[in-house]
Subunit: 302 residues, 2 copies
Amino acid sequence: MLPFASITIIGLGLIGSSIAHGVKASMPTARITGYDADPSVRARVQELGFCDDVADSAGAAVIDADLVLLCVPVGAMAAIAADMAEDLPEDAIISDVGSSKGNVIASLQAALPRARIIPAHPVAGTEHSGPDAGFATLFNDRWCILTPPDDAQEGDIERVRAFWEKLGANIEIMDAKHHDLVLAVTSHLPHLIAYTIVGTASDLEDVTRSEVIKYSAGGFRDFTRIAASDPTMWRDVFMSNKDAVLEMLQRFSEDLTALQRAIRWDKGDELFDLFTKTRAIRRRIIEEGQDDAAPDFGRSHE
Amino acid sequence: MLPFASITIIGLGLIGSSIAHGVKASMPTARITGYDADPSVRARVQELGFCDDVADSAGAAVIDADLVLLCVPVGAMAAIAADMAEDLPEDAIISDVGSSKGNVIASLQAALPRARIIPAHPVAGTEHSGPDAGFATLFNDRWCILTPPDDAQEGDIERVRAFWEKLGANIEIMDAKHHDLVLAVTSHLPHLIAYTIVGTASDLEDVTRSEVIKYSAGGFRDFTRIAASDPTMWRDVFMSNKDAVLEMLQRFSEDLTALQRAIRWDKGDELFDLFTKTRAIRRRIIEEGQDDAAPDFGRSHE
């Protein structure tokens, strides 16, 4: 039993193309229609062949869909939803993969007031972007969070759940506000900090860019990975989840100031206590299968 | 031609044990004597067998050495140097692997005023600690920075260089003050920030520890790796390289405040410009062989 027979993916970057590959692998009889606002991406997807059909407009893409997945930056959701409004079949379910949910739900409900909207956020990704970056196993054993609005129908939620489970994801349901707070700390704040430190390091007068690169194995290089993520996507996330991001940033800054003070006044014990506590979190992430136990992320060292 | 025939390693954690494995692999006729202040580490090293001999005191460990490598936390350097002062052969070279250099050199020169000291810092490591964590290829294609004092003899520098090259490292020579500034940004600041954010995330009232762990694949888990590094080692690094760390921290905080302001006032362009610039740094790190090109550090996704 397929949860959906005709799936339209709008936005064919890393996440959209990974979903398409995942559908091909786990639901091979489902029909996939793709659309991307960028004509060069549409042409590339034709070559790569992971969609059965690539449409020339959002409206044409959705006309036969029973699931429409919006995989565009969160700042582009409102416009693309308005574009397809007239052509959207009445019984189609609209979902998305946006990293923030409160704002996205408001945009989609405004643009598509009668649509059956079940927002989703698969917590998975890599630092690579574009239609060549996708792969079928991206969502394996990752969490996909559904944030259905209060008036969502139980049957619609269950179909979206079944869809993501077929892609290998585990499902959690929570309200959009809580999602936005949780993801502010597990995803948005880490990205903001990584972008910041990479910027700080590249603007120094007394340390050359070349030195920063040569000695990056001391820790810095870990931050450059997520600071290489898609700029449009992340700009939109911070604009869209502003309140929760600012709240987490404030807490982080306070904690950093406390450590700064401990260093200035030689309070080694305070540092030691924190550094001991943080080890336990890493251990639990590995125990729960959310990261690899291999040292150094399994980098080869050969 | 071996640069050194008799090598003593004081401190048998990740770095000390990796050096021993590397010597066994690349200089198999060299004799390795090990010592660690912790009797349980000494016993474990006897079992693991990567030292030819495990001594019961620092003095006994160095008595026949022509190279003594101090692989202890930087805060422990002064005491261990004093311990071995009487037994150190006149022609032995003393080196170390400390992550900060100015303070370490001052400590060693004070404790061993007539010794031939060639300080070194191999920029390599994993988040694992202890004698079981070491492996021979840890230093392959990583940089090892030598910071010889002004009165160091050229021949001594060349022997230490040859030693590290045999372990696979590339060598750079710089003065200690510059080293401490460069490493403050490429290593110390990243560790401090990683420890901070992991602490911030585990102290929230409205987001549970379990949620932080489940959704850590959104970016947070990358930070937990270096926040799992050895607490004693890192406490000492921040105490020892205080001035440079505080300077870098100040710059980072200013940059973070600027981003915070951009988010608050909806200045998406400022965010986008920074996020585009930081991508280029990642690209260069990969081009110069300091990280893997595989997406997501090569994590498996299976």
